[in-house]
């Protein structure tokens, strides 16, 4: 029985449970006139029955599905011949994948060994057993829930409180997902990073000047030594982010000042949404724009001026990234400028200051903490931005500060190392997780500081 059908059956059972519970409530209350004897309205008795029917079965179903494939693989591996079981982990993994592919009927390269075929049949039969068992167990759990609750329904059963309690637990469960996500992120990058740092020392990763993650497949191969010094990658990231900030901060800040202090209401109503369109454009579109239009333009302009510009120059990627961040800086600054109390402005005007003097000497200093927080958030976005740099920046890890040369970034390296087929314990693949850990930590620190500053600032004028 497929999981979808099973889910549907559970839904039907829960609906039945609802009606059974409600009917039972009427019966124990003593018919339609006896409703006043019940503690709660009959729908609560129904809902309670439905919840008792659905939730335990659903939990069981979820756990079963989550661990089914791991357990079955374990069982199949345990039954494989000695020779295969004693293979190194990577090769064993390959075999297991082959078995899985065979089971799902995918096309498989190469000949199929008889042991593998037998294992696949074994897998298939285990899977069938597991599916049947799952169906039986969940459906009987669901029915049991209904039966138990039906027996418990009496006029004094506090059905409403029960339902509300269950819903409250569901709400709590939903709100903790954020915590689990963070834990999941930390664990998933941490474990692989630890494995990486067992192969490559932390100091080499953080202080090394050469990045070339191509590891040798054969021991005598030339030029694929695998160097994991991440300094060029960091410097490239910082260079591109710095260029982006040089574009985004002045333009974003000035447009926010103009919109909030000078612009006519009608002008603001047109210009502000237009600028915000920039924020809604997907980054892949910016990446395409950078690679197709901006980079060739910069290269040709450089050529006219007699400069040699790489076709994947940091300038092109940084410039376009800056454009992407303009609305972010602008709308945050706008908020903070508007949050400065009118009294401060009036005070400055009454002393005879012009508007620009008021802005420069009163409003901006007052709004500065907020703006700094906003800029920090923007920096964290620039560092973590992926598609623009993947499409417009280079792969070669040059250690340079020249914006006309190609540099690479942390995100580009993560994408290139992880897209496509990977072997799961080569330092090359693991390096991506180490970079991911670093990216997560850096952006996390920036975000924490920025959010703290912003919150402090907001409280100041509230």
């Amino acid at each position: 029985m497929s999981p979808t059908i099973l889910l549907f059956i559970l839904l039907v059972l829960s609906t039945c449970g609802y009606y059974i519970g409600r009917r039972r409530a009427f019966t124990v209350g003593g018919g339609t006139t006896g409703i006043k004897n019940l503690h709660s309205r009959p729908i609560y008795y129904g809902s309670l029955t439905a919840l008792w029917c659905g939730i335990p079965a659903l939990l069981l179903f979820g756990f079963w599905l989550a661990f089914e494939s791991a357990i079955i693989s374990h069982l199949v591996v345990a039954d494989l011949p000695e020779a295969i079981r004693n293979l190194p982990a990577a090769e064993l993994n390959l075999k297991v994948n082959k078995i899985r592919n065979l089971v799902s009927g995918n096309i498989i390269a190469g000949a199929i060994e008889p042991q593998i075929q037998a294992a696949a049949d074994h897998y298939r039969s285990l899977k069938a057993t597991s599916n049947a068992a799952l169906a039986v167990v969940t459906i009987s759990t669901a029915i049991m829930g209904v039966v138990i609750l039906r027996a418990k329904i009496t006029p004094i059963l506090r059905a409403r409180n029960g339902v509300e309690q269950i819903i409250k637990y569901i709400l709590i469960g939903c709100s903790t997902i954020a915590i689990f996500t963070t834990i999941g992120i930390v664990l998933s990058v941490l474990f692989e990073s630890i494995r990486f740092f067992q192969k490559v020392p932390l100091t080499e990763f953080l202080l090394g000047l050469k990045w070339s993650p191509q590891t040798a497949i054969r021991s005598d191969q030339v030029g694929s030594s695998g160097a994991f010094g991440a300094i060029p990658v960091f410097s490239g990231t910082l260079l591109i982010s710095a260029i982006a900030m040089c574009v985004a901060v002045p333009i974003g800040l000035m447009s926010a000042i103009y919109l909030s202090e000078y612009a006519h209401k009608k002008f603001r109503a047109v210009a502000k949404p237009l600028i915000e369109i920039l924020a809604g454009i997907p980054t892949v579109v910016y990446g395409f724009f950078a690679a197709l239009t901006v980079a060739p333009f910069i290269r040709e302009t450089g050529g006219i001026l007699g400069l040699s510009v790489s076709s994947e120059s940091a300038l092109a990627a940084g410039l376009v990234m800056g454009i992407m961040i303009i609305p972010f800086v602008s709308s945050l600054s706008d908020d903070f400028i508007n949050a400065v109390p009118q009294a401060l402005r009036d005070g400055a005007y009454s002393l005879g200051a012009t508007r620009s003097e008021t802005i420069k000497q009163v409003i901006l200093p007052a709004a500065l903490p907020g703006i700094v927080g906003g800029v920090l958030l923007a920096v964290s976005r620039a560092i973590g931005e992926t598609m623009i740099v993947v499409m417009a920046a280079g792969l070669a890890a040059n250690l340079t500060l020249n914006p006309l040369q190609a540099v690479t970034t942390v995100t580009v390296q993560i994408v290139t190392l992880l897209v496509g087929d990977q072997e799961f314990d080569s330092p090359k693949t693991l390096a991506a997780f180490a970079l991911g850990l670093l990216l997560f930590l850096v952006t996390l620190i920036l975000n924490v500081i920025a959010l703290h500053v912003v919150r402090k600032y907001r409280e100041q004028y509230e």
Partner: protein, 433 residues
Amino acid sequence: MNNSQAPRSNIRKKTERTLDIVNRGLSKRYRAERRFRLYGLLAIVVSIVFLALLFISIIGNGYSAFQQTFIQLNVFFDPEILAKQSLATANYQGLVKKSLRDMFPEVNGRQGKRMLYGIVSSGASFQLRDMVLTDPEAIGQTLKVWVPADDDVDMLIKGHFDRQVGEGERRLADRQLAWIDQLSAEGKIKKKFNTAFFTGGDSREPELAGIWGAVAGSFFTLVITLLLSFPIGVAAAVYLEEFAPKNRWTDLIEVNINNLAAVPSIVFGLLGLAVFLNFFGLPRSAPVVGGLVLTLMTLPVIIIASRSALTAVPPSIREAALGVGASKMQMVAHHVLPLALPGMLTGTIIGMARALGETAPLLMIGMVAFIVDIPAGFTDPSTALPVQIYLWADSPERAFVERTSAAIIVLLVFLITMNAAAVILRKRFERRW
């Protein structure tokens, strides 16, 4: 400002009053004022110019992809050729080649023939097959059929092809150019609406490549995202805003949500790769995994929007409900939630629009494969629309530049529609209390 000079004014000549000092500096200050104002205006103009450039570049490159060049062939559906094998696998390529040879009988030699066959897309034979399969009557007849031209011919007709370049460096030889000129003089080359672009899956041949597979993949991914993130997001927001006590635990949740909203999207991709693919063993390239990853990514957005929608509901409503004896849960479900729903929906649509445009996390979970088939379910391998754009942007053929831009136009149309829906929803249901 000249305030600092005021105390010194008494040592100046008595005839010079403060007002004069102020007046003297005034023109300079007004100039600074105008300059500052100009900078502000300039900043806005610059960002709008960038926006305009972006749109002009995309639309300028992409609009021509909505048309495709077709060549008219006189195809004789030769029963002899078709009878050799079953109708589904017969040699339709042979029919195409024969009709091309009939049109240009003077061409001979292997190289010349190969050049001649090269002006028609390899998709032509599939088109003929579909014609025969839907209408077996065609066998034995000679029909005029419009078949798609090769992408290089398409580029030539659309004017993206420089004839001045030396023959060795361009993708069409002089003889091919002559044939095409002859065909267009005879009216046998025509640009028609490019339906294949909207109905086809991915292909290595630009003239056959379409976005439907990617759109379907995006659709399945977004369905999962919506089904998971909206209920969970609303539930989390309701708990945090209406029920949660103010303690360490809820503080932790809040800090987490705010941080997750600013975590780079690629990190969510790493999470998906490590947890969903490697730990739970879910299939690679499947929309269901993409949906899960995007759910985690959009949840903070939806939670934050839903919370602000809930805070906008005035406390008097809550007090009134509690006052007539509703329980807290009834108050939320019957009164607060319906009033906050438009705001929550607006936030959800904006979150969905962001999820639709997101590429990086999908790259991590393998939704970048070259997939020709249209996905039909949540576990079929598929790509998504932005990933398709990324894949095409990497392809070297000139015709893919045009198709990439056209795919971007389609994506932007979706995004603009979604955002417009959000704006309309907000305008319509916005209530000032």
